[in-house]
């Protein structure tokens, strides 16, 4: 039989000791944690690599990728050569208000046009702002770490 109240005091001792330890809280805007290499922060698009195959838009479980494109004929590389047709993007929007960061689009893209970037500071006061157009998505490309994290 222990002293009455001993258990209570023991617990309070733990709390007391904790008071003199360094807090583990990271004071966010002043101190920042470095995101892990695989972090799914924001999706970056490489417009050059994209062939407008629409695989990502079809596979997105939320249907939050909007793609439009057209075909463009290119000058043959040498005179008399074959005219090549290349698909050009007109619109590539990702609605981050809908996106659930599942990573399926990045995984399915067969031409390595989508990447995860660990950037996360793109909140908006207005929900419309969460729709990133293709230029904004292209800008994220500069923040993609090497080698791409979750990609196989």
């Amino acid at each position: 039989m222990t002293l009455p109240g001993y258990g209570l005091l023991k617990g309070m001792g733990v709390t007391l000791r904790q008071m003199f330890r360094k807090p583990i809280t990271v004071q966010y805007p002043k101190v920042r944690e470095t995101p892990v290499p695989r972090a799914r922060g924001v999706i970056a698009l490489d417009q050059e690599a994209c062939t407008v195959c629409m695989l990502c838009a079809r596979q997105c479980p939320d249907w939050c990728i909007y793609i439009e494109g057209h075909k463009e004929e290119q000058e043959p590389s040498k005179p008399g050569g074959r005219v090549r047709v290349r698909a050009e993007l007109d619109r590539f929007d990702i609605d981050y208000a809908l996106c659930m960061y599942c990573g399926i689009c990045v995984e399915v893209c067969p031409f390595d046009a989508l990447f995860w970037s660990p950037e996360y500071e793109y909140t908006e006061h207005n929900m419309d702002g969460m729709l990133h157009d293709m230029d904004r998505l292209q800008d994220w490309l500069a923040t993609v770490p090497e080698p791409p994290g979750l990609q196989q």
Binding site: T2, P4, G11, R38, L55, I104, L150
Partner: protein, 466 residues
Amino acid sequence: MTRTNEPDQTALTGEAAAQTGERPRRRTVDVWLTGTEEPDYTDEASQEFQPDDTERELAEQLGSVVDDDYFIEEQPQGDDERMIVNMGPQHPSTHGVLRLQIELEGEIIRRTKPIIGYLHTGMEKTAEDLMFMQGGTNVTRMDYLAPFHNELCYSLAVERLLGTDIPPRAQAIRILMTELNRISSHLVALATNAMDVGAISMMLYGFRDREQILDFFEKATGLRMNHNYIRPGGVAADLPPGWRADVTEILDTLPRRLDQYDAILEKNPIWVERTQNVGVVTTEEALAYGLTGPTLRATGLEWDLRKSNPYSGIEQYEFDVITGENGDVYDRYRIRVDEIYQSMNIVKQVTDTMPKGDYMTGDRKVAPPPRGRINESMEALIHHFKLFTEGFRVPEGETYAAVESPRGELGCYLVSTGGGKPWRMHTRAPSFYNIQGLPIMMADSLVADTVATIASLDPIMGDVDR
């Protein structure tokens, strides 16, 4: 009071009001579609479909209707004064949006009725719209404190229909992740249970230590929660470099932290008084109501799907099934603490014996061709497209796969008609069944014990309502 469809003659239209200078009054609207009278069942709680009197008796016997005798028919007399109190759905201690209708006699709870559905998002229906490969994104959001268990359960069901073999490394990774997930989930359960009884520091410590595990999850999968990491066929990516050191660090720090918890709670007279012999349930009752997990084991029955129905190669690892004696809140707390030790034990064994090899099945009908091959061969590219646009076909049939989630038996019943999407997916959500035990646990207990009892079941409303 009767309500009619007749337009209210006294109401002024906007035009007339402008002339007379009076403020326009809103027209009264007939809210009862029946026209003249209020329907018989007007209280929100009678959610059950009410059959007419001839069928009623049969329906009651079949259990499809529960007689809702919550109306106090006669005027209460003398000491027999009863009061019905609603707790929730926005009560901080109901762990989400659970609503309890509690019938009180003074301080004593006579009857309780859990009312659910406030978080219903139709996830089982959504699953029918998603291909098997996408399904993981959906199920992982059901029980958001144990996302890996949901993914594993779904994947096991799909794989059982497919008949695919999973490489040993993928299986070991799955066990590693689910057991770590069990630890993190139990930490939250301890934290919230203690907080509901008033131990705020315990809440902070529990969440602090869970963070360490979530950091590892983030490193491995990219997200802290809702990972979509365990897929039909294996796991999405290999473990990150340096995972062994991270896991070892978790295993090293946790015992010290658990000692702290014991110091705070185990002998703490306030905690002991408020949890022992509170929310008691017997083995028979638990079995009759389908309660599983720590709630069932606290009654003394040694039932753990990891032992009785092993999955993903968990039978290779040694661990004990922890049981309690009294089936009360305190026992459930003890079981959670001890299960953390057992899970650490498993995690340690997995870390030591992690096999080498693939993390995804080599079956090309299920897994896409490797990245490198796409750039080299047109066939691989076509195959990649075909696999993702149509999804892999799962043979016709139905199956049930179950895993031991931190809350109990988590099952996935899957019907496929041979297409790329499930025809029907049903989840046997442990929280849903555990909540059914509340009325018996809380009968004739004190109001003050309510929050302790709810928290000890560790219900996740996302899991309950799906």
